[in-house]
Symmetry: C2
Subunit: 248 residues, 2 copies
């Protein structure tokens, strides 16, 4: 049989997982997807994820790809077949054949992450898995001013986890949109790529701006000094959602 | 010290609980609230809930009452104190002193329950704890016609769980509102009281109307015949939320 290249769009509630990436003895999204696909293929399948989301981080539109000649399920029935073998916290939304050179991670040209914040005197039990609870109100206007400084092509090393090894820490931030119209406030980041912990480090810093514990200008200083120590804390994973991954 | 009567407004995600009511060896909302209050009072406290919600049923505005002379926490600090001792799936929103004759269940004059339905080809991982997933679209106009027949004072025995013993099965349904404007569709019931499983039995029947598996008229026939066997299945607890409890 001919080897085909598959692309799946996957949604998950990351709360109960040790992250996307397979780790021995851990409950992971990749592990569950590979387990389900192996049942259908009757042989091991190794998948590639566009974004290796951390423990507790969610996805609305994660993209995974894999090659196999062993799947006999028609492509339009594949989501239903895989979903029947997955925990309810992971759902395959769509499956399609892609050209042989498609690679979920390397072919991605743009990703959008959303960070969700809930403010109120008491935490909301229905949002506790999906939004970061901040007790005191935030000054979102200051936060809007602060994010403008991050748009464009920059060295984001100051907002990356220390010790991560990547060829370059330069990324292009296409847009950062803050939406406070709903009960859950969102900060949406679109870039050509993200460094490890980059969104959560930016959000942790922005929240300090919203709390007036640091200046709007200090957000730019982190960039200019490329110094993680100048940034705020890493915001918790609970509020982070991988929204979409775009390909050329 | 003087015995005071307390009223708490409580929110919970019922997914992981065996229901509101204390049962030996079970994880219950009442059990967790009583455990937390006993820590503060340094003696056992028995609480009364306005509605004894089932396993998996949620509450935005459950009301509980209890009497004690053993709490020394100021009333405005009581929610924070109790919340610090509760699991994150239960939150006390408000605490107040009430007159000695206030009883969370017997003093209630009106309750509102909301049932949440999500329709789509694939279940939504973020809604799986809070909405009943229906794969096929429903005819909500037929369902709107059907609920009109239930408004007013009726014997709801046909929509009650069989074998439940109550003095009377007559209740007054003040309103049933269907809202389909959002992604999560809701059916909101306001009545002077509800029989055991009444909302879920009505919803299970309404969904069959929406699926055109039974007629609009059959919804009234269940009432008139007082026959549970004529009604549809009991809708799952996941979609049910105790929204508010009103007092005179």
């Amino acid at each position: 049989m001919v080897v085909l290249n598959y692309r799946l769009t996957v949604q998950y509630d990351g709360t109960d997982f040790a992250g996307f990436q397979v780790q021995p003895g851990q409950y992971t999204i990749q592990g569950e997807l590979e387990r389900a696909l192996a049942v259908l293929a009757k042989e091991p399948i190794r998948i590639i994820g566009a974004g290796r989301t951390d423990a507790g981080v969610h996805a609305e539109g994660q993209v995974v790809s894999f090659k196999t000649d062993a799947l006999t399920v028609p492509i339009d029935r594949l989501p239903i077949a895989v979903n029947s073998l997955l925990p309810f916290s992971i759902r395959v939304l769509e499956a399609q054949y892609v050209p042989p050179d498609f690679h979920a991670r390397y072919s991605a040209v743009r990703k959008t992450y959303r960070y969700q914040v809930f403010h109120g005197p008491v935490a909301d039990v229905f949002l506790r898995r999906f939004a970061h609870w901040v007790r005191e109100p935030l000054d979102w206007d200051l936060m809007r001013d602060a994010v403008q400084q991050l748009i464009g092509r920059h060295d984001f090393q100051g907002y990356a986890a220390t010790g991560s090894s990547v060829k370059t820490t330069v990324r292009t931030m296409y847009a950062i949109e803050i939406d406070t119209a709903q009960r859950v406030k969102t900060i949406r980041f679109t870039a050509d790529g993200f460094l490890y912990n980059m969104v959560r480090n930016i959000v942790g810093t922005l929240i300090e701006v919203g709390q007036k514990r640091r200046t709007v200008e200090s957000v730019l200083e982190v960039l200019e000094n490329r110094n993680r120590a100048l940034a705020g804390p890493t915001a918790p994973p609970v509020g982070l959602v991988l929204e979409t991954v775009d390909y050329a």
